[in-house]
Symmetry: C2
Subunit: 204 residues, 2 copies
């Protein structure tokens, strides 16, 4: 009876190997606050423990439609005092600040963390290609394609680097503690839009 | 026995009137990001449901050592789309941006919410008076004294407006889900310092 009640609220369980992984597993979730007209975008990273507890945040900037997001992210993550604790990076889409595309393979290799890109809707690559053409950055399509296959997990989609499809799906499920969207992404979105707009937008 | 266990993990319990109140109870926690040398300070408010789930954030600014914090807070809270859901306001100390003192009675009356000031250490009023004298703002001591008696709850202290001591203590306990500091205060602190410093400071 006692055990049963304790299982319902796994955050409180004091032992067990599966629980230990879950409880201490720290995910860095990344989102930006891009608004049309911005020249630079604020990027927020929240570090969540066990998909629930906010341990810390990092902030950085990147140019709108620029090429510096990957490098700036790597630098910010490596200099963070949470660097040693992070076990996985989650991105809300593959780009920040419009078309500042993140090279997820490079991000994973340089930080040594697996990267999971969470995508709300199946990307329309033809539309993206067209938009990139309009701003004279068609070469970025290569980077987008390099991010690899888009998988489905429940009602959302994802891309991966440095991690298997199955393991990534497991982490997405573990982290989606309060909605369809993994909590580190939901929080980074709330904070990023809150800082820029003075209040958060309704959806991640 | 069951009752005892349920108290430990209340967030997960699916029914019961006490639980319903707690689960949906939204607290707005306020902190600022003041650093020596700033002229203006960023104020962050996080709205947490049941002491756990981040529902939204508000941001605003106030002058360092100014007089606009109370009015700016009232305006930001009343125009927030979360206004209808908030049940209680928590402040991390009575001042933001150095000595921009918040009139907690006015804040409570104008927003119609109870206000709880959470204090980590018993305030040294003589030291505060001296510091106020140095910047030629001794009259602010009145506002500080108007905030009333300092109570103790566990290892922290608190002041109140629009709420009883006992009810406030209950809310503080309810909201301290992950540390001694109520979670809405801990989160606002993490975010405020993270935004300004690029990374959060260790303690609220």
């Amino acid at each position: 009876m006692v055990k049963l009640l304790i299982r319902v609220s796994w955050v409180q369980i004091p032992s067990g190997p599966l629980f230990m992984i879950k409880r201490e597993f720290r995910i860095l979730g990344i989102d930006d606050s891009y608004r049309r007209g911005d020249k630079e975008t604020l990027i927020i990273g929240t570090i969540l423990r066990g998909g629930q507890l906010l341990d810390g945040i990092i902030t950085l900037k990147a140019k709108v439609d620029g090429d510096d997001a990957t490098e700036n992210l790597i630098t910010a993550i490596k200099k963070s005092r949470h660097y040693g604790q992070i076990r996985c990076i989650m991105l809300n889409g593959i780009a920040v600040g419009g078309f500042n595309i993140i090279d997820i393979n490079q991000l994973s290799q340089k930080t040594k963390f697996p990267v999971i890109v969470v995508i709300r809707k199946m990307p329309d690559f033809r539309k993206i290609e067209k938009a990139l053409g309009k701003i004279g950055q068609s070469e970025k399509m290569k980077l987008i394609k390099k991010a690899g296959k888009v998988y489905k997990a429940g009602k959302i989609y994802f891309q991966i680097s440095g991690i298997s499809k199955n393991k990534a799906e497991e982490i997405i499920k573990l982290a989606a503690t309060h909605s369809l969207i993994p909590e580190p992404i939901r929080l980074s979105h709330l904070i990023a839009s809150g800082i820029v707009l003075g209040e958060n937008k309704p959806r991640a």
